[in-house]
Symmetry: C2
Subunit: 367 residues, 2 copies
DNA sequence: CTGTTAGCGCCTTCAA
DNA sequence: TTGAAGGCGCTAACAG
């Protein structure tokens, strides 16, 4: 049996007051104003006399009152939840972007404090849809989708439909590090120039004299994978090189880089360079080469993508393409809050910067 | 002006039906049952005739109905939100734990699907409290706090008070990789044995003959920092070594390890070993040593803590103490859902395993 | 097994 | 500048 706010409107503090969570009515009673007034000072978007506001805030403090989110969301038909979807939160690629987005959203000291939260799909299409539904259920204010998308047409359609419904319900949709989507449900897209960055990277490797270049790609059905691979291939084509047998797919982790590199070596013992889909994979490649008794870059050059913090500290330091993850994440956060105008056409391309370091060198004499 | 569900109870599909988000009443009308029945099939915790359920589910599908979370939470006075607080989501230490917790929670195909969500405090006490308030506002079902706590008494008291209020309101509290808290608001605690692991690590280093051992600690006011440092000191003490001047504090990142190591070298040029507060810091230490022209472990041995995935791939591979992050995170998730009984006394200590690898070796002849 | 009836706590017109 | 009143969409007793 709960003592409702109005029930004790005329009483002083009671035992039950200490045990039950206070409601807005309790605050109103204590501050001698109507619930409506309390609501107004709490939301701050309506004129309230300074003295009244004072009294209300004091009552809030004394009662340790915390707004009931669900009730508030229900009545206002809006919520302060912002969801950030990531494919693998254990990968700093996502951790950095998501952290930056969350920080940007948290910094906004605006009217209603937003609750920005990270949702880890683990790369599973089902969980991606589940999270989207859950966020839709919460009537999320905004959703940020980060990283490469799955290219399976069925899943893409399902996601598109979900996003359309979310957008219909007023949820802002922002894509960060993910290619644009057809339709007008997406508020803004920050797309990484994976193709261009990859192209410059492989150009660099070719420029060092390498001709037998292996490529360790990510999972085949991801946009990120495809775009980076396309950039790589366009560089090869421009140099007149054809080596379709020298591409091995795997996941975006270290183990995959290790295994794929051994496979590349098997296919082409005269390999002199390995370009990897990302830095983590590149480090796996380095490990495999070492275990085979090969020197980096003396025998084989290695290059990565993204430029994670540890890449500069690797031995040798990793040549890679730097993606501005923090900046992109922060911008996505601001776009999700509508603090920043969407780029023209709703799409901005974020370019990577080639970072030439110790892991790539001129092809060995015998190459 | 919104067409409410009951308003069109007797009509067929209309334009507005396509544009407005359907409500439970719409579904009820379409399935020719009462709203209560729809609620019952949706929540699945009440007997409903198979045929009725069928009809309801079909209506749900046809209308693309999605439950209104806020309304549901308000009525039921509970929510399906689970918050996971982390200090730095860009650090895989947290990414791995949080990802595992989220996966464990997502796997639970129980009654109501839980929305587990990661909140990145960035190590800021204010943001930690803000997130706790926001989660309290959402009437979260559970909160998981991961990683070391701040030892500032004022902040600790504030957090304690918040947790007490959350617990009062029925929120389950789980600590993962964080020392136990006084009081009974915490449902379960999984504490890492930082002291013991650190002790064994430094014992190992001493056993290799090292006597001038530098220590790169984390931020001074974190429990994790203090416990690991205490373990280190107890090992030194047991070996009769006193070297308080050889401890440098910093943050838990690579840069800090780099700078701190240079400082240690300045204080003690004859240094033969560096023990770091975590793996990331240890890699920074390695980089500093290399830049000084010193070999690891030939000139100076280096050891880390935690055993992140890249640590085994470092050159040389890093000696460290392996913490079972995934297992702990998953268990914390299950504890948060009440799927697993709390350990006796509410507290379980999770031990680390010494991983001896290439970065530590016998002290050099001249040492 | 199913319908009816009250609210959950807050926001938001409308009046004053 | 403030109060009064109704309803947001759903759940949870109660009946039947």
């Amino acid at each position: 049996m709960r003592a409702s706010g109005s029930d004790r409107r005329d009483h002083g503090p009671t035992v039950s007051e200490a045990e039950m969570t206070a409601t807005l009515a309790d605050v109103a009673a204590r501050a001698q104003v109507s619930p409506a007034t309390v609501s107004r000072v709490l939301n701050g978007n309506y004129p309230v006399a300074a003295a009244t506001r004072e009294r209300v805030l004091r009552a809030v403090d004394e009662l340790d009152y915390v707004l009931n989110g669900p009730a508030s969301s229900l009545a206002a038909a809006t919520s302060d939840l912002v969801g950030i979807l990531v494919n693998d939160i254990a990968d700093p690629f996502f951790g950095i972007m998501a952290g930056a987005a969350q920080a940007a959203i948290g910094e906004e000291r605006g009217a209603r404090e937003k609750l920005s939260v990270i949702c880890n799909t683990g790369g599973s299409p089902e969980r991606e849809l589940t999270y989207l539904t859950l966020l839709q259920r919460q009537r999320a204010a905004a959703v940020i989708l980060t990283g490469g998308a799955l290219e399976d047409p069925e899943h893409a359609a399902a996601v598109g439909a979900k996003l359309a419904r979310l957008a219909d319900a007023g949820t802002r949709i922002v894509l960060c590090g993910r290619p644009p989507l057809p339709g007008d449900s997406v508020t803004a897209t920050l797309a990484f120039d994976n193709r261009g960055g990859s192209r410059r990277l492989t150009d660099h490797v070719i420029g060092l004299g390498h001709r037998r270049i292996g490529y360790v790609a990510g999972p085949p059905e991801r946009t990120t994978t495809r775009h980076r691979l396309e950039g790589h291939r366009s560089a090869l084509a421009a140099a007149g090189l054809r080596q379709d047998g020298l591409v091995v797919h795997g996941s975006y982790d270290r183990r995959s880089g290790y295994d794929a590199t051994l496979e590349l070596l098997r296919r082409e013992p005269e390999l002199t360079a390995v370009v990897a889909a990302n830095d983590t994979v590149a480090l796996g490649a380095c490990a495999a080469l070492r275990d085979r008794g090969l020197c980096v870059p003396g025998d084989v050059s290695v290059a990565g993508f993204v430029d994670l913090p540890f890449s500069a500290d690797a031995v040798p330091a990793l040549t890679t393409v730097r993606l501005p993850l923090s900046e992109a994440g922060a911008r996505a956060g601001r776009l999700a809050l509508g603090l920043e105008p969407a780029p023209p056409g709703g799409i901005a391309t974020v370019h990577g910067e080639l970072m030439v370091r110790g892991s790539t060198g001129a092809v060995r004499a015998g190459g």
